[in-house]
Symmetry: C2
Subunit: 386 residues, 2 copies
Amino acid sequence: MTIGEKSVALHRKLKGKIELTSKYDVKNKEDLALVYTPGVAAACLAIKDNPEEAYNLTSKNNTVAVISDGTAVLGLGDIGPLAAMPVMEGKAVLFKKFANVDAIPLVLDIKDTEELIKTISHLAPSFGGINLEDISAPRCFEVERRLREMLDIPVFHDDQHGTAIASCAALLNALKLVKKDIKEAHIVVNGAGSAGTAITSFLIELGAENIVVCDIAGILDPSDETLSSYQQNLARVTNQKGLRGDLSDALVDADVFIGVSAGNILKKEMVARMANDAIVFALANPTPEIAREDALEGGAVVYGAGISNTPNQINNALVFPGLFKGLLEARVRQITTEMEIAACLALSNIIPEDELRPDYIIPDVFNLNVSKDIAKAIIDIQDKTT
Amino acid sequence: MTIGEKSVALHRKLKGKIELTSKYDVKNKEDLALVYTPGVAAACLAIKDNPEEAYNLTSKNNTVAVISDGTAVLGLGDIGPLAAMPVMEGKAVLFKKFANVDAIPLVLDIKDTEELIKTISHLAPSFGGINLEDISAPRCFEVERRLREMLDIPVFHDDQHGTAIASCAALLNALKLVKKDIKEAHIVVNGAGSAGTAITSFLIELGAENIVVCDIAGILDPSDETLSSYQQNLARVTNQKGLRGDLSDALVDADVFIGVSAGNILKKEMVARMANDAIVFALANPTPEIAREDALEGGAVVYGAGISNTPNQINNALVFPGLFKGLLEARVRQITTEMEIAACLALSNIIPEDELRPDYIIPDVFNLNVSKDIAKAIIDIQDKTT
């Protein structure tokens, strides 16, 4: 059986990977009167008098909505909300496993962006945070930005920022290993969708000054009028040397390749054109931009990928559970870049510098310190500011 | 401590009455690859190819949304979505306890009816059914009707139909006990909101021909132009004798009083004006229309109430868990009146006729046969029609 066949068989056996359970066993009429009418009315009124009590008297304090419209699911594209459900349930399983956060998968049957924003905003009262997932670019930028303005709970598009935080944590460690400085490193980001855009912005926040972004048409060029406004913004803040050409041109003497694009588009010969001690992150799923052996044969010293069967798996699952745990525990209303940077540093610092090796720049997703340390980093920031 | 204080203390201790749990423990990278990327992609594609597979591969088959806008919560009125949350979580606890159905509480921050309908319709893909809850009348009628037209999963406004099914199941047994026929019985329904409207319609479906509906202004009269269109409809199908006056006038020689109105509005003297072997259901919460002792002193033979500290508790919790269990198991797309009648008969028939007593006309909510029998009644109908 292929892994896909095995997965379908498991899904068919489970008939759903998650379930809702009670934290209190209702054994008799007295219990019933406490968790439900008439007693429950007092809990309702306490929240009506003081909305903050919702965090003390309901599940809001530990519950996140995992919301998708199914327009950009994994590498599968616009498969619709119903078909996106297994991914959202999978995320809910990981939220629980790695950080004991209750995540409710909600797939929305909406195509219109305004309608999507409105609908998600209406859902906010039940939740302590919103994890947006698998929403197509460039709509995802608008959706997240507007919801952050509207809501008083944190909104986080994982495909953007989860990927950025995880890959930059790995990059910081890889750069330590090859003794290069992020400020000087020549970094090529391949893919100008939600992940590529977020990684680029985050690299700049971390101090990178020499980034070139490529998409399928080659190096992004601010004078190209066919670019979307988001890509134009990207082009404007990158490519300081005004390079033109394709990915192969961009990679000449590059220190870092970060691919968030498509399988097998990076060739061994292109890696060979990179600088010494090259770092290659091939994050496309399920097929990386280049296989590990090819990247190493091309001269890369550090290789990371999104898939699980190579060392250095760079996976959002390293980030979202602990990040939301911290956001919920600290009752954060708005995620800040400072928090994202703190999460990134917490993740990279889990591996002591003297333990870093080319095939160990990012902790294993089953390392329980990961979510704990990230949550703590968020809580520390909130404690500092309140 | 009052029951309200005890309830708040319990809520504060629990910090939410429900949690989301995994049905599969992810122990290693192979597990991860099955429940999440890359394996999960095959489950997504299987659903994309055949949407029906969502019922086999995701939690949709056993998951209901419990949705409220917080406009008509218990007897508390429009307390808003956040403050409604403890009730919705309470319902989720009962769904799980009595029928092992996973119910997700969703409180929506919406005032506009059209917006409410649109938002709920967008949520449908994640769920196998929708339980509407505590939405104010007359909006609730429009919301339910329109959603039933739009969606291919069952939509059930519990305040209407759950109340109707539970109270009519009790009534059928009470009528057996006093040897009266529903066709001839003179029935007074007091309260013309969502529950009163639904009870009246359901009584007619069950064969009742002599119903008078009262609201705060007295007996509903089809010539009264101040009535809402829903109340006018109610007036038109009831009060065949053209009675005028107040509740006290309506009750002269009445066989049955069903109150879904407000506490303490029914007086002992009014009960005394009813026919012999009068049946009084005082369903207002938390204070019934009349206390049990007063009703019995007034001459009532059978008394039922919504509260838990008297015999014959007529509670929606007798209905919604088993009803949805049946709807989900039979993959019903549209609830029919036939199904509601079947649920009502299943509920009343749990007590064998020779065991009926004035203080035992409706089974206890903790009787495990209740949800089983109701679910079976729904499944039997679906089997018959497919």
